[in-house]
């Protein structure tokens, strides 16, 4: 390497760049993190499809079988239709709840250390990652939605409702992805993280209105289900995609928003600790 290579280029005269702060910069940082995650996804698009297969199998096998049972009132639709929003939400949660594994992997690699030593607000790191998980979830859900529609499950195609549903999918994914990063920051190792992840996903799924209405649950389970953010995502999606009527959307969106804000606040505080 000839040693005057750098000296002859004009960059050598440039002063150190000092990054300014502010809300605009914060948003740019968040979008840059999202961009990075999506660029990675672009190199590996098949993941979205493979992740969409299992939920569709749930719908086809479980949904069809239980459509004959008629154990409770599904509001005039088949059980398969009734459970579709539940399965969509479940696939969002299952993917997002293991998102924190990438945090641990990035810590082991050294990528996270590098980001944490850069002039990026912590909240931008957390929200950027979570939003990227949201976009990922949205792609995955869209595939499942289309496959469900192809197999003949009658779903509403109202543009405004679909748009609103997309927003709620992102909110739900942001919450569960942030929760996952919080868990990663606390347990710190892959093994423990996988253990906790597997421990909580099934209870979160069954203690929600994904597969059956809250009204048929025993009292104690009803309490759990009503503090479970998953229930509110399912409720909104069921309104938007199945009945076409959003009866309690304010509560659904409000609770999901509050859950996201709380999780982001805790996540921002704990995230840097994953490297200590």
């Amino acid at each position: 390497m000839e040693s005057d290579r750098f000296a002859t280029s004009a960059v050598a005269l440039v002063k150190p760049a000092i990054k300014t702060a502010g809300i605009k910069i914060l948003i740019i940082d968040i979008l840059t993190i999202v961009e990075m995650e999506l660029r990675k996804l672009r190199h590996e698009p098949t993941v979205l499809f493979t992740r969409a297969v299992q939920p569709v199998l749930w719908l086809l096998i479980f949904g069809q079988a239980f459509s004959r049972v008629r154990a409770f009132d599904t509001g005039g639709v088949t059980y398969q239709t009734y459970m579709t929003p539940g399965i969509l939400s479940q696939s969002v949660m299952f993917t997002a709840i293991f998102f924190g594994l990438s945090t641990i992997w990035e810590r082991d690699m050294g990528i996270l250390q590098k980001f944490l030593a850069m002039p990026i607000p912590r909240v931008a790191l957390v929200l950027g990652k979570a939003l990227a998980a949201g976009v990922r979830a949205l792609c995955q859900v869209t595939i499942i939605f289309l496959l469900a529609a192809i197999t003949g499950i009658p779903l509403h195609w109202h543009p405004a409702l679909l748009l609103a549903a997309a927003g709620v999918v992102i909110l739900g994914a942001v919450f569960f992805a942030t929760l996952s990063m919080i868990i990663a920051a606390i347990v710190k190792t892959r093994e423990r993280f996988m253990g906790i992840g597997q421990l909580i996903t099934m209870p979160l799924f069954f203690a929600s209105n994904a597969l059956y209405p809250i009204s048929i649950m025993p009292d104690w389970l009803r309490v759990v289900a009503s503090v479970n953010p998953l229930s509110y995502m399912v409720d909104f999606l069921r309104g938007a995609l199945v009945s076409g009527q959003l009866t309690s959307w304010q509560a659904d969106v409000g609770i999901l928003l509050v859950a996201c804000i709380l999780a982001t606040a805790v996540g921002t505080y704990l995230y840097p600790r994953v490297v200590t």
Binding site: S3, V14, K40, H43, G110
Partner: protein
């Protein structure tokens, strides 16, 4: 002499184990300071405290005049950091890795493109820029990491074991790059290494670290003179000052980390 990094009586414990036991040193602009020591000596822990990743238990450290604990955000503005472990995203191309970093460092427009292209050229990566990084050799990855770390022309560059796992040619390449960065930008560089030869070749001053303690500091020539044998190699210097060359082999954690990295780069 403009002092960029000031470290005074820095201490850090993990549980009962004290990893850094009151270490002090300064680094001036345009100086390459080497922290030399076996695996487990506490080098990475010091770097992590200076790069704001780990809060010190006690003592004081300033970087560019800012306190690493109380003014961490300011410190992050003026440093570049290449961690010990492999830190680029293999799924992205070399150019994408640079682009994302440049954006996060607040570089914009033409200026951003120019810096990215100039640095890729400087690091001889322009031909590989559109390839995914997982296809790069260990030396190329290291050069890309250094390029990312200096995109904003930081006053200080922290390099944790920059040549571990590299073949001799790639290692020389890294040394030359560091020499140029130092000369042209008067960047202060802190590098850690457990290679005696590397410390001898690249560093203006060396601090020998053993079991969390700074045993001695000085220029390579000064340290050699202190042993009373002017023809001493750095290996001799190390043995002279620590007295337990064989014993200072590091712990399992350190060894595992280094092996892990060598394998990834291999």
């Amino acid at each position: 002499m403009e002092v960029i990094v000031e470290v005074e009586q820095l201490k850090k414990s993990f549980g009962k184990h004290t990893a850094v036991k009151g270490v002090s040193f300064n680094i001036a602009a345009g100086e390459v300071f080497g922290l030399l020591g076996p695996n487990g000596a506490g080098k990475t822990t010091i770097v992590r405290m200076l790069t704001t990743l780990l809060p010190p238990d006690s003592g004081r450290a300033t970087v560019c005049g800012y306190d690493v604990r109380r003014q961490a955000a300011r410190v992050r503005q003026c440093i570049g950091y290449v961690p010990q472990a492999l830190s680029v995203d293999g799924a992205l191309t070399g150019y994408e890795n640079m682009m994302i970093f440049a954006k996060l460092l607040g570089l914009k427009g033409k200026e951003r493109n120019k810096r990215i292209n100039d640095l890729l050229q400087f690091m001889q990566l322009e031909d590989a820029a559109s390839r995914q990084v997982c296809t790069y050799s260990g030396g190329m990855v290291r050069r890309l990491e250094i390029a990312q770390a200096v995109l904003h022309y930081p006053r200080v560059l922290f390099l944790d074991e920059p040549t571990v796992g590299l073949d001799p040619v790639a290692r020389k390449g890294v040394w030359e790059i560091l020499a140029e960065l130092r000369q042209i930008y008067r960047m202060a560089i802190l590098l850690t290494t457990h290679y005696m030869e590397e410390a001898d070749t690249v560093c203006n001053r060396i601090g020998i670290l053993n079991h969390g303690e700074m045993v001695v500091k000085g220029t390579p020539a000064e340290l050699k003179a202190m042993t009373g044998n002017p023809g001493a190699s750095m290996d001799d210097v190390f043995t002279y000052f620590t007295g337990n060359y064989l014993d200072a082999g590091g712990d399992f954690r350190g060894i595992r980390q280094v092996r892990h990295i060598s394998r990834r780069l291999g």
